[in-house]
Amino acid sequence: MNNVQKQYLLNTISAAKRGDGRGLEDFRKMEIETGVIYKAEGSARVRFGKTEVIAGVKMDVGTPFPDTPDDGVMMVNSEFSPMASPKFETGPPREPSIELSRVVDRGIRESKTIDTKKLCIKKGEKVWMVFVDIYIINHDGNLIDAAALATVAALHSAKMPEYDAKTEKPNFDKKTKKLPLSCKPITVTVHKIGENFIIDPTLEEESITEARFTVATNDKGNLCAIQKGGVTSLTTDEIYKAFDLSVKKGKDLRKLIKG
């Protein structure tokens, strides 16, 4: 972005306005659709304005980790496909993609959303593995929040395949039970631009953000995961303000998820 555009954006935000007419603490028009991928156990498409993300849940039977023999396994992975933005390239995942998957993963894992004990089939030998894959379809800012919301919606819409004891494999033709889930963790990222805090930035706004602060909250309003990003430092007061904003906005978003 050139300096004129940048200055214009900064001026608008410092006057507590947004280019698209939103308030500083408003999300863009939001759509959540679940069950968009028939073959997946659970799936969701989330749109924040022009940002679009699909999360899919696939399950399989595998061996547990040796240190947690009776816990199921959950993994989150994300793919920044080159079709989603001219800035994305093919090849192994880079830092932004890795950070996104790990932040989303922590939000789900630390809030103990999935009761992994109930995913155990035979202790030490067979457990259910839950794979969440996040695909970015179009990148127009705020990927972390969109991806986290899509993940939670996909998990809540998921139906587990039945375990076939004879073949020791999952039977994908019979999907009946829901996943053992306890809560809906919501991730909200607060961006600092000038002296203002905004949420749900567009790609343009994201390019001038100084620091970003991501907070995942559970149903009780407790914090489950935090990640600061960006090369600007923040005072404790600014951080506490971000906590409060994330908790408040998290409550609104949670209502949008069915299940």
């Binding site: 995942p93 998957s101 914090l223 935090i226 600061k228 404790t236 906590f243």
Partner: protein
């Protein structure tokens, strides 16, 4: 906090280097640069590129760590860079690179914080202009007690693990991560405790640098 050991200038080949340990966690860091950056397209016209490379030695943990980058180490590289860059005067060296290599030679929780402390000392030792030293420590809550500098066993028992990096002079936080389940109020308490820990580390870092350079 666990006993802290600091040594500055441990790698003669490097422009700056330091070792930092919290009890049984030991990090060593070496700084090379500012030096020319290749390939050229990676150069930034108005500032230096700060590159941080965090690695764990395969023998540093109970179960051998597979060498090479993992998702975890790549995330740590990123947050370490973002923790340090606010105080490094990168604008002094346009188009150059400053490479910070962090090796964890023994790990018992708190490796990213030990790594940041070592890196900040190594940058200072290399004579790179900085606005402040960065200090870093994790805090958490076990039962009703707030605890500072979690060690391996405590990390398993805690409600949350919250590492921060802090600039004492600016009174600002440059890194914060957290995983766990804690109310907003408790989180704030934990942050305040971690800041107190950072203030103590700051004194020790200064002392170590003075010992090396003020003799």
């Amino acid at each position: 906090m666990r006993p802290i050991t600091i040594k500055v200038g441990i790698i003669p080949n490097a422009d700056g280097s330091a070792m930092f340990s919290f009890g049984k966690t030991t990090a060593i860091a070496a700084v090379y640069g500012p030096r020319p950056l290749h390939p050229k397209h990676k150069q930034i016209s108005d500032k230096a590129l700060l590159q941080t490379i965090y690695m764990m030695a395969p023998f540093s943990t109970t179960e051998r760590v597979r060498p090479g980058p993992s998702r975890r180490t790549q995330e740590i590289c990123k947050v370490t860079r973002e923790a340090l860059e606010p105080v490094v005067c990168v604008e002094e060296f346009p188009k150059a690179t400053i490479d910070v290599y962090i090796n964890i030679i023994e790990a018992d929780a708190g490796t990213r914080t030990a790594g940041i402390n070592a890196a900040s000392l190594a940058l200072a030792d290399a004579g790179i202009p900085m606005k402040d030293l960065i200090c870093s420590v994790a805090a958490g809550k076990i039962g009703k007690e707030y605890v500072l500098d979690l060690e391996g066993k405590e990390e398993d028992a805690t409600d949350c693990d919250l590492p921060i990096a802090y600039s004492q002079r600016m009174k600002k936080i440059t890194l914060m991560q957290m995983d766990g389940d804690m109310s907003v109020k408790d989180t704030k308490e934990t942050v305040n405790l971690a800041i107190k820990g950072c203030e103590e580390i700051y004194k020790k870092q200064r002392q170590a640098l003075e010992e090396r350079w003020m003799k």
